[in-house]
Structure formats: structure tokens, C-alpha cells
């Protein structure tokens, strides 16, 4: 009994790290995605190209490679720029997820009919008023399902930081497995991931319901 409590506690410690990475990533990459999507749909060509470059590089290469690059590669490329493990992981995840969110939001923004812009315009609204009050709120509703998918993927992707030796759920479980020759830590780990994702599903369902009052 004591043993089980102790191992579970250790894995939960890892869950704290996982959760921290998850929350930081979402909290920064969502707004980042929104901003980049605005850039990608703006009239400024150089901005559009820059965003295109960003999203195609990030989405076209493995997340694992990006992790290695930020942690091991950057210090070689730019001497002195050395991130602590967790920071490196957070930076990589933010940039990675930011790119996916950019694409999702871009699609959402572009799915808003031209008539919405025109109606706003003939009422005298400026471009930024139109974006903030008319386009983005409708975009949020449309992107909820894909964003919810990404969030669930993110929970699972956090396990990748094991390669940097960060003590999150998976690493902590695996440590116990190799030490004690038991698979129960893996089952506990799976349970935690499942619980996290279940929470997310419930949360997003609530949000979707709130946006269901129209259309």
C-alpha cells in the first residue's frame, strides 16, 4: 500500500510538470496563433510570406527534431543561447503549436463570408473593429472543434519531452518500471493522460454548447 502511494505520488509529480507544460503551451500558442493568422490574412505581403515560412517549416518537420534543435542545436548556432530543459521544451511546443493554431485560425478567419466585412464597413466600422467584434468572435466558434483536437494531441505530445530527460509523467513511470519490474506505473500514467483528456473533452463540449446559441 505504502509502495503504491509512493509510486503514484512520484508519477503525479510528473503529471504536475506535464500539466505545467500543457498550460504554458496553450496559454501562449493560442494568442500567438491568432496574431500570426491575422498576419497571414493581412494585406501586407511580406508579413504573409514570413508567416508562410514559419508555418511551413514548423508543420513540415517533426516535433522531436524541433525539440532537439532548440535544446542541442541553438547553443551551437548561437553560442551563449542555452535554454534550461523545461524552457527549451516550452519554447519548442509554443512555436510548434502556434504554427498549427495559425493555420486553424487562418482557415477560420477566411471562412467568414465577405458580406460580414462589407456590412461592418458600410456601418462605418474600421478594419480592427471589424476583426475584433465581428470576425474573430465568429471565428472562435468555428475553430473550437479543431482547437479541441489540437489540445488533446498536445496532452499526448508532452510525453515527447522525455527525450530531454524532463521528469514528466512518462519518464517518472518508466523509471519505476525499470527499477521494480512492474507495469502498474504505465497503467497509472495511461489513467492520468486519459483523465486529462476527458477533462478537456468536457470543457470543450461546454464551450461549444455556449456558442451554440446562434446558427
Amino acid at each position: 500500500m505504502d509502495y503504491l502511494l509512493q509510486t503514484t505520488g512520484y508519477i503525479f509529480q510528473g503529471a504536475g510538470v506535464t500539466l505545467k507544460l500543457f498550460i504554458i503551451t496553450l496559454a501562449v500558442s493560442l494568442p500567438l496563433g491568432f496574431l500570426c493568422a491575422m498576419g497571414k490574412t493581412s494585406k501586407v505581403k511580406s508579413l504573409r510570406l514570413l508567416m508562410e515560412l514559419y508555418t511551413s517549416i514548423v508543420r513540415g518537420t517533426p516535433l522531436l527534431l524541433q525539440l532537439f534543435f532548440v535544446y542541442y542545436g541553438l547553443p551551437i548556432l548561437i553560442p551563449g543561447l542555452r535554454f534550461e530543459r523545461f524552457t527549451a521544451a516550452a519554447v519548442t511546443f509554443i512555436l510548434n503549436y502556434g504554427a498549427y493554431f495559425t493555420e486553424i485560425f487562418r482557415g477560420g478567419i477566411q471562412s467568414i463570408e465577405r458580406g460580414q466585412y462589407e456590412a461592418s464597413r458600410v456601418l462605418g466600422m474600421s478594419y480592427s473593429q471589424t476583426m475584433l467584434r465581428i470576425v474573430l468572435p465568429q471565428t472562435v466558434k468555428r475553430v473550437l472543434p479543431p482547437v479541441s483536437n489540437e489540445a488533446i494531441t498536445l496532452v499526448k505530445d508532452t510525453a515527447l519531452v522525455v527525450v530531454l530527460g524532463i521528469g514528466e509523467i512518462l519518464r517518472n513511470s518508466k523509471e519505476i518500471v525499470s527499477r521494480d519490474f512492474t507495469i502498474s506505473p504505465f497503467i497509472i500514467a495511461a489513467g492520468i493522460y486519459l483523465a486529462l483528456n476527458y477533462l478537456l473533452v468536457v470543457l470543450f463540449r461546454k464551450l461549444e454548447k455556449r456558442y451554440a446559441v446562434y446558427e
Partner: protein, 254 residues
């Protein structure tokens, strides 16, 4: 009473190689009710859209109540004032679209108050009073908290009219306001427009409703292939048009 509300001269518009407006001259005086009719693709919508600057004219000039929206120099250089200035001047115009273009995430009342809040910078209370007044005017007071998706086409269009009116425009532009409606809903929208006409709000109405055009308008403009073919009183245009084309068109419409 003869104040010049809109003056367009030599107005041209092309989309790439396609010339859609080929030199349109149009003057609208205060209180005039003008219908614009003509075959599909003749440039009726484009004309309205240029007047309210949803499209930028390729040449010619537009003045709204004497203030320029577009001018063209003798050398043919098209000039538009600063974007903010254009936006400000175009606030004299209100526009109603064929597809309503209501904001789906806002209730009927919020649709009407949105621009009052963010453009006219009214406070919430003030905007709501004005918004309710406008909804009452189009007979939709009981729908104030309803989202557009629960409104019929006719009700949607009436909200759209209320939304445009709320900003207190001097001139209303209607682009086929009843074309997207089921036949039994057309009447309620035309009724509202007729009421505005009786208040002598200056308006330009692109329409395929010939009876409406004939009954309500002071002038009817027939557009064909990017030009105004005839601009006359309704009785003249509907009974004795100068151009045989117009006769053929009207026969087809009836």
C-alpha cells in the same frame, strides 16, 4: 429641397479586363426615391457598391453631399481621400444587401446597436433606446433578443434595414432587398421601404419588383451593359420608354 445628395460623373469600373461601368452620370437630390432596374450583369450592384466605396471606382468622380469620395484629375489619375475620411463621408449612406449580412453572433437588437456603440460611440443605454426604436419602426420589437438564425428572411431583412437606419444615414441604398426572399415574405419588406419612402428618405433601390418601382419611385433608372440607358419618371419609362430594349425587358419581366 433640391440639395444634391449624390453626384457621380463619368463613373467607370473595371474588374481586370472586364469593364462593368462604362461612364455613369447620376445626380440624386434630397428626398428622391430612385429605382434602378435592368438586366442581370448590367452593373447595378457595382454602381451602388462604388457609391458607398465597397468598390473603388476606376475613373470618374463621386461626391456625397458635396464631399468627394473619388475624383479623377485631368491627367486621369484617380484620387481617393484618406481611408478614414472616406469612411466618415460614407456614413451619410446606409446600405441594405440582398443577403442581409446580419451578424449571426448578435441578437437582433445587438445587430442594430453594434455600430452605435463602436462607431457612433454611444453608451449602452442610449444605443439600446435607439435600437429599440428602430426595431419598433420595422415592426420587430418582440424579436429584440432573437438571433438571426431564428428569424425568417423577411424579418432578417427588416433587422438589416433597422441596423442601417440606426446610424441616421441621409441616403439609403438597397441592393435587391427582396430577391433572396420567399414570395410571401416580399410584401413585409417592401412595406417597410414604402414607409421610408413616404418619410422622404432619399433612396436608391436596385430592384426587380416592377410594381414597387412604378408605384414608389420618383425616377426610374434603366441600366444596360454598364451604362444608364434611360433615366425617367416611372410613368414614362414603364409606358413609353425611348429604347426598344427597355420595352423588351419590361415585357419579359411581366
Amino acid at each position: 429641397m433640391n440639395r444634391e445628395m449624390i453626384s457621380a460623373k463619368g463613373l467607370r469600373k473595371n474588374f481586370g479586363n472586364l469593364e462593368v461601368l462604362k461612364g455613369v452620370d447620376l445626380t440624386v437630390s434630397q428626398g428622391e426615391i430612385i429605382s434602378i432596374i435592368g438586366p442581370s450583369g448590367s452593373g447595378k450592384s457595382t454602381l451602388l457598391r462604388c457609391l458607398i466605396h465597397l468598390e473603388k471606382a476606376s475613373a470618374g468622380s463621386i461626391h456625397i453631399e458635396g464631399e468627394p469620395i473619388v475624383t479623377t484629375s485631368a491627367e486621369g489619375v484617380v484620387h481617393t481621400p484618406h481611408e478614414r475620411q472616406v469612411r466618415h463621408r460614407c456614413r451619410k449612406l446606409g446600405m441594405v444587401f440582398q443577403n442581409f449580412n446580419l451578424f449571426p453572433h448578435k441578437t437582433a437588437l445587438e445587430n442594430v446597436t453594434e455600430a452605435l456603440l463602436v462607431v457612433a460611440k454611444q453608451d449602452k443605454k442610449q444605443a439600446e433606446i435607439r435600437g429599440e426604436e428602430m426595431l419598433a419602426k420595422v415592426g420587430l420589437s418582440d424579436k429584440r433578443d432573437t438571433y438571426p438564425c431564428y428569424l425568417s428572411g423577411g424579418q432578417k431583412q427588416r433587422v438589416a434595414i433597422a441596423r442601417a437606419l440606426a446610424m441616421g444615414p441621409d441616403i439609403m441604398l438597397f441592393d435587391e432587398p427582396t430577391s433572396a426572399l420567399d414570395p410571401e415574405l416580399i410584401g413585409e419588406v417592401l412595406q417597410v421601404i414604402k414607409q421610408l419612402a413616404s418619410e422622404r428618405i432619399t433612396m436608391l433601390v436596385v430592384t426587380h419588383e416592377m410594381t414597387f418601382a412604378r408605384e414608389v419611385s420618383d425616377r426610374v433608372i434603366f441600366m444596360d451593359d454598364g451604362r444608364i440607358l434611360e433615366d425617367a419618371a416611372p410613368d414614362k419609362l414603364f409606358t413609353d420608354p425611348d429604347h426598344p430594349r427597355i420595352k423588351t425587358f419590361l415585357e419579359k419581366m411581366l
